[in-house]
Structure formats: C-alpha cells, structure tokens
C-alpha cells in the first residue's frame, strides 16, 4: 500500500479515526490509511445531530463495495454537525479523508479525553507496525 498521509495538527485513534480539536468542538473522520484499507466507499452511516456519543462506542458504519465496518467514536459528547455531503458522495472519504470526507462534529463532554489520543508520530508508528 502506498505511504499513508498522516497530517500534523490532528489527533488519531487506534481504530484509525482522526480528530481535529477546535475549542470544545472536535471534528472526526477516518484516516487516509483507513480509507485505503477499506477501498471504494459506497455508504457512510452517521449519528444524528443531537445524539450523545460515549467515547469508544460504535456510532455508525462505513461500507465499501464489499464490506461493512463499524465506526467507533474516539471522543464522547453531543453531535453538533454531520457531513450531509457523504449521503450523495461517499467517495469523498476516499478522495479527501481529512477534508470533504469528514464525518461529524462533537461538542466534547470532557476536553481532557483527547489526552488519550495518539499524536501523528504515534499514529505513524502504529500503522507502520500494522
């Protein structure tokens, strides 16, 4: 597999999600490594706006042509936005996983919970060993 893009300025989970923290709001998506592993993505099931997510729980699915995979939220809190564009264009996750392919935004229940996430360097290490 080609070298995966792991941008600076984001935090990462062991389940291959990325998190961008701005104040008490976190934007979540799946990593370049994850989209490449899944292959062509044809459907993303997202949580509803207003739903309360608890960290590490299964909150939706991402489906490639052949497979259904659970999405585990790396952070807990109230969903304050979802990427409606994925309904009509799920391939955005393949094309631009850190931009147009974002999944949802959460108002963090506890800002300190992001301390458990991985730095870009730690995540690179994780996928290098995978």
């Amino acid at each position: 597999m080609a070298q995966s893009n792991v941008p600076e300025g984001l935090l990462y989970s062991k389940e291959h999600e990325w998190v961008r923290v701005e104040g008490d709001v976190a934007t979540v998506g799946i990593t370049d490594y994850a989209q490449a592993s899944l292959g062509d993505i044809v459907y993303v099931e997202l949580p509803r706006v207003g739903a309360t997510l608890s960290a590490s729980s299964s909150i939706g699915v991402v489906e490639s042509v052949k497979a259904v995979s659970d999405v585990y939220t790396p952070v807990g809190g109230e969903v304050v936005g979802i990427n409606d564009g994925l309904e009509g264009d799920p391939a955005a996750v393949n094309r631009d996983p850190y931009g147009d392919g974002w999944f949802y935004r959460v108002r963090l229940a506890d800002v300190g919970q992001t301390n458990d996430l991985l730095t870009p360097q730690q995540y690179e290490q994780l996928i290098a060993e995978a």
């Binding site: 292959g39 044809v42 459907y43 042509v65």
Partner: protein
C-alpha cells in the same frame, strides 16, 4: 475450510508485484483487488480486465462414456454436445439441491474438461469419482493447471495477436485447443462470469506468468487492468449470474435459483429429477429474485427481507452496482413476493429500507 496452509497459484508473485491485496478463498491465497474494485469493474465493462482463476477446480474427463455418464448426474444435457462446445450445468443431489454449478468443455470425441467452483473442488471430486462408471477416466488437475480470463469488450482485440486460433469467429460458449505465444498449448473458451464478452485460457502452470505478463505489458497502457475477486463478484451479480453458496447450494435448487432453462426435464433420469418435478408442480417454492434498493444503504447477505412488515425472505448477495447506479441484491423470497414490481423492505441494522423486485439480470451488455 480456510484454515491450514493456503495454496498459491502460479501467478502469486505476479499478484504481489502488482500490489494486490491477497485473501483466502477456496483454500487459495487470491487477489481480492489490485487498485480499486470500482476501477477494475470499469475496466471490464468498458475495456478489458485480466483475472487469475487458477484456484478453480479443473478435472480432465476421458472416455467414450463421459457424455452419457454425466447426463445422469446433472440437470442439463451433456452427451449431445459437439467437440468445441462448452455448456453450463449443475450437479444435483437427490433433493434437487445443487452440489455445484459447473461448465463442461468438450475438446474432442473422448476428451472433456470440467470446471467446478474452487470452494467445491474437493466435494466435487468425491461426487464424480464416487459415481464413476463405464469408460470414464478422471484426472484431478485442481491447482496443477492455471486459468487466466480476459473479460471485456476489447478482449478479442487484445488477445488475438497472441493466439493462433481465430477468436472473432468463436461463438459464445465454444472452446478450442490452440497455442499462444508461438507454442504454448492452451484451451481457449469464449466463456466468463462478468456479463461481458471474453475468454478463459486454460494452460500449464509454468506458462501462466509468461501469458499474464505479456498481456499486461502490451495492453495496460491502453486500459487493461488486472482484476481481483472483488470486482468479479460485483460483475457477476450485476449480470445476474448465480454464485454457489449464495443463490444456490445443497438446499436451494436450480429451480429456485431461476435456472429452469438449464434443467432438461425430458431427460430420462438424473439425480434429483423427481424432487425438482415435484417442486415445479407445487410451484409455491421460495425463489431468487433481483432487488434494487431505493436509497444509498447497501443490502448485504443475511439481511431480512420483509413484505407488509412480515418476513418474506433474506438477502443472498448484495453490493453497490456501478453499472446500475443503485445498490443491487439477490434475495430468496416467498413465491408471493417474487413478482417484479413488488415493494419490499430490507432490514438493515434495525431499520427498514425500501426495495423493489426487478427482473434479472440487472445489467446486459450493450450491443456493439
């Protein structure tokens, strides 16, 4: 069945060099995709794709009685095949269920090739060798011979320069013994599992890499793509072709699978004939239908299918259908729910999603 040491085809190194993602399938380590299932699918529909199918079971059958012997074990006719013909067939059990769906290739008066599904190769060897009678000699070539398929509208154009036999003159479901690359003996058949024109090339394992590399070297820049089992499954589903274990198995009969065209009830006898006749007579059997999903949620094998809120069957195969522009599926449903146009629902993770029964196949290749 996937446990234990996996076998490798003669093209294993070629797959790795092409960056294939390998998965266990039918006891072999096989490429599921090289670049992208959608890209590979597109190549086959619009140009051509190259497949390694060396995991499939190949049995050599020889003898004066092969045709009449095989007649008694299968639903379709065999003995009346002419040399150079290929024919789809199904080996049945006494209940009318399917041991496997297969293709017979008649090479000459006494030599035949039988191709069975990889996942059924061991079972099918037991079935045919256990039933052997008269002048029928069997040789199990599974894993010892290679099989390369080229599928797609450019297949004739891209394969012909390397084959002695006239490909454009071959009929669909015909086969010929010929040579490639100025000497390698092969059997070439105009058969496939994608819904497109194309050829399957049966050859010695030690010749496989040469043919594979040559076809890619000559044509990859023009759009020939190596294709994995992922694209193959989507292509066959769109083309309405059954996959053993999904649309047909030891319980789901060929009649239920919609393959009545292949069942020759006027044959004097064959295994399962009585059961299939009774099933046809009763006419109330659950059957395989095509479904298209109304929304973006894919249906997957095993999901419940409902009609008016009541369970009516289950999904047997499901995928995004790139050539259809919708999520497509097959389902085994009650006879009353099988009419095209019937509105059904598919239960996906606890929610119900609208679907409609449509005629199969989902996709027919355009006339060119």
């Amino acid at each position: 069945m996937e446990s234990g040491a996996l076998r490798r085809t003669a093209l294993h190194e070629a797959h790795l060099a092409l960056g294939a993602r390998m998965v266990p399938f039918g006891g072999f380590e096989m490429p599921v995709q090289y670049t992208s299932i959608l890209k590979e699918h597109d190549a086959v529909r619009n140009r051509a794709g190259l497949f390694d199918l060396s995991h499939m079971g190949q049995f050599a059958l020889r003898g004066a009685d092969v045709g009449s012997w095989a007649e008694s074990l299968t639903v379709n006719t065999v003995a009346n095949m002419k040399p150079g013909q290929a024919r789809y067939n199904i080996f049945t059990n006494a209940r009318g269920g399917a041991h496997d769906d297969v293709i017979f290739y008649r090479l000459d008066e006494t030599r035949w090739l039988l191709v069975v599904n990889a996942s059924n190769a061991e079972k099918m060897w037991d079935v045919v060798s256990g039933a052997r009678a008269g002048d029928v000699r069997l040789e199990n070539l599974h894993g010892e011979r290679a099989l390369i398929a080229i599928q797609g509208p450019r297949s004739v154009e891209w394969l012909q320069p390397h084959v002695e036999h006239d490909l454009a003159g071959m009929k669909y479901y015909s086969c010929a013994e010929t040579r490639v690359r100025g000497g390698v003996p092969v059997v070439i058949a105009r058969t496939g599992y994608t819904g497109e024109d194309g050829f399957e090339i049966f050859l010695a394992s030690d010749a496989a890499t040469g043919v594979w590399d040559l076809l890619l070297a000559e044509n990859r820049a023009r759009g020939l793509e190596p294709c994995g089992l992922g694209a193959r499954d989507v292509l066959r589903l769109e083309a309405g072709m059954p996959l053993y274990g999904h649309e047909m198995d030891e319980e789901i009969t060929p009649l239920q699978a919609g393959l009545s065209w292949a069942i020759k009830f006027d044959k004097p006898e064959f295994v399962g004939k009585e059961a299939l006749l009774a099933q046809r007579e009763a006419a109330d059997y659950a059957r395989i239908v095509g479904l298209t999903m109304e929304g973006r949620v894919p249906a997957r094998a095993g999901y419940a299918v409902l009609r008016d809120g009541e369970r009516s069957g289950e999904i047997r195969s499901g995928s995004w259908g790139p050539s259809v522009g919708k999520n497509v599926a097959t389902a085994l449903v009650d006879a009353s729910a099988a009419e095209p146009g019937t509105a059904l629902e598919v239960e996906v993770r606890g929610a119900r999603h609208a679907a409609s029964v449509v005629p199969l196949p989902f996709y027919k290749r355009p006339k060119r």
